[in-house]
Amino acid sequence: MLAVNRYKCCYCGACVGVCPVCALELVETWLEVSADCTECGLCSKICPVGALEVQS
C-alpha cells in the first residue's frame, strides 16, 4: 500500500506527474491514491519532502 504522510506532504503535484498509471490525484491540498496504484515506488523516490512510502 502507498502511504501518504499528510503532515509532510506539501501538495506540489510532482508525484502526480510521474505516476505511470495515473493513480494519483491532487485535490488542492489532499493527495488521493486510487486502486490503480501498482506500488511501483516511483513517486516515493521523487517526493521532495519524503511524504510517500510503499508499505508492505
Binding site: G13, V16, G17, C22, K45, I46, P48, V49, G50, L52
Partner: protein, 391 residues
C-alpha cells in the same frame, strides 16, 4: 453550462490563452481547482527581462526585484559573473508570482473570460465520438461544461493530455525535483542571481539564489528525479543553508516538480491543445517555464479563435498550433534537452574545469550560445559530444 472554449488551469499559460481567445470574441471558461489563483507558489520566479517585456508590459506590483546579472559557482567555489545582457534570457526580473498569476487571470476576466475557481476538471466528455467538453467538480458538485474545444494548461501534474490519449508521463530523469526557502539574510546580494553547481550539492541540477529585494531571496534546489530519493531535495537544501546561510531566516517554503522532458511528439488531438508545463514546454536546462507557457498560451488562444471560426477543431484543424509553437521554441527546446542530457553526466572535476576556463575570457558581450562557443574552443575534448550543437 456551455461555451466555445474551456481551459483547464489558471497558471500563466491558461490565463494568457484565455485572455487572447476572449479578446478574439470567444466565449471562454477557465477552471482552476485551487481556491486562490497563484497560491501556493511552485516557482523560483526568475524571468528574462527583455523576453517578458516582449509579451506583457511590466507592472511594479508583480516585480519583486530587478537584478544586474548572474554569478555562477563551480563545485570548488570558483565563480564567474555574467551581466544581465548575457544571462538575459533567464534572469533580469524576479517576480512575485502570487500577484503575477492573479493579475494575468484578472486580465483574462477583464477581456471577458469566465474564471471558475475551486473547480477541478475530472475528465473529458464525448458526444457521438467527438470531444464535447469536460466534467468538473465545483465545490463538491459535479458539473458538465460543454465546449467543442479544450485547452489543457494544468501544469506539471497535467491529466488533460492523458485523457485525450497523449502520453505526458514524466520519466524520473525528465523532471527536476525542487525545494525552496524564502530566506532573509544579510549575506544575500540583491543585485545578482546566483547559481551553484556540484554533484554532491545538487545531483543532476543546481542550487539557485534569486534575490527579491531587501536581503530576501528564493534559495532553492532542483535535482534530477532519477537521482532523487524520498526527501532528498529538502535534505540537500537544508545542508546548503547550513553551509551558506547559517543565520538565514526562513519565512516560506516551496516544493515542486519542474518538467525537463524536451520536445513532445504531439501536443494536440481532436478538440484539444496542451500548453505550458502540461505540454512540457519548460526549458530542460534552466527549468524556466513561465514565459514559454505564456507564449504558447497566446498562440493557442489565437489558433482556437481561428479554428472555431472555420468550424474545424480536429487535430488537422489545430495543426497551426503545433507548427507555430514549434517554430518559436522547437529548436531551442531540442538543443536544451541535449545540453541537459550532457550536463547531468559531468563530474565535479569537469564542472570545475569548464567554469574556471572562462575566468580569463571576456564574455561580457556574449549570449549563452556565444559562451558555449568559447567553452568549446577552450575545452574541446570535454565538450566533443556537443560539437554539432555548438558549431
Amino acid at each position: 453550462m456551455k461555451c466555445d472554449l474551456v481551459i483547464v488551469g489558471a497558471g500563466p499559460g491558461g490565463s494568457m490563452a484565455a485572455k487572447t481567445a476572449a479578446k478574439a470574441g470567444l466565449d471562454v471558461i477557465v477552471v482552476e481547482k485551487r481556491q486562490e489563483i497563484g497560491d501556493p507558489v511552485r516557482c523560483a520566479e526568475g524571468v528574462g527581462k527583455r523576453a517578458l517585456c516582449e509579451i506583457i508590459d511590466p507592472d511594479p506590483r508583480w516585480i519583486a526585484a530587478e537584478v544586474s546579472g548572474a554569478r555562477i559557482y563551480a563545485p570548488d567555489g570558483t565563480s564567474i559573473v555574467m551581466s544581465e545582457d548575457r544571462a538575459g534570457d533567464e534572469v533580469g526580473y524576479v517576480l512575485e508570482r502570487k500577484i503575477f498569476d492573479r493579475a494575468l487571470a484578472m486580465d483574462a476576466a477583464r477581456a471577458g473570460a469566465k474564471v471558475m475557481v475551486k473547480t477541478r476538471a475530472l475528465g473529458l466528455c464525448t458526444k457521438g465520438g467527438k470531444l464535447s467538453g469536460i466534467r468538473a467538480m465545483r465545490l463538491g458538485d459535479e458539473i458538465d461544461i460543454q465546449a467543442p474545444l479544450v485547452i489543457g494548461a494544468d501544469g506539471v501534474e497535467s491529466k488533460v493530455g492523458r485523457w485525450a490519449g497523449i502520453d505526458t508521463v514524466l520519466r524520473p530523469k525528465d523532471i527536476e525535483i525542487c525545494a525552496q526557502f524564502l530566506v532573509h539574510d544579510k549575506r544575500i546580494d540583491d543585485m545578482y542571481c546566483e547559481f551553484f553547481f556540484g554533484n554532491k550539492m545538487a545531483p543532476g541540477g543546481y542550487i539557485w539564489c534569486f534575490p527579491k529585494g531587501e536581503n530576501l531571496a528564493n534559495v532553492g534546489i532542483g535535482i534530477q528525479g532519477s537521482k532523487s530519493k524520498g526527501g532528498e531535495a529538502i535534505r540537500l537544501l537544508r545542508e546548503f543553508m547550513k553551509s551558506h546561510f547559517p543565520d538565514g531566516r526562513i519565512v516560506e517554503m516551496v516544493v515542486g516538480g519542474d518538467p525537463c522532458a524536451g520536445l513532445m511528439e504531439k501536443t494536440s488531438a481532436d478538440g484539444m491543445m496542451l500548453i505550458g508545463d502540461a505540454a512540457r514546454q519548460t526549458d530542460p536546462i534552466t527549468g524556466g517555464g513561465i514565459l514559454n507557457a505564456m507564449r504558447c498560451g497566446i498562440i493557442a488562444g489565437e489558433v482556437a479563435a481561428k479554428a472555431l471560426g472555420i468550424g474545424d477543431v480536429s487535430e488537422a484543424g489545430l495543426k497551426e498550433y503545433e507548427d507555430r509553437w514549434r517554430a518559436v521554441l522547437g529548436i531551442h527546446l531540442e538543443r536544451s534537452y541535449q545540453y541537459k542530457e550532457f550536463f547531468v553526466k559531468l563530474t565535479d572535476a569537469d564542472l570545475n574545469q569548464l567554469i574556471s576556463s572562462l575566468r580569463n575570457e571576456d564574455i561580457s558581450k556574449m549570449d549563452l550560445r556565444g559562451m558555449l562557443r568559447v567553452l568549446f574552443r577552450l575545452n574541446p575534448k570535454l565538450l566533443w559530444e556537443l560539437r554539432h550543437l555548438i558549431i
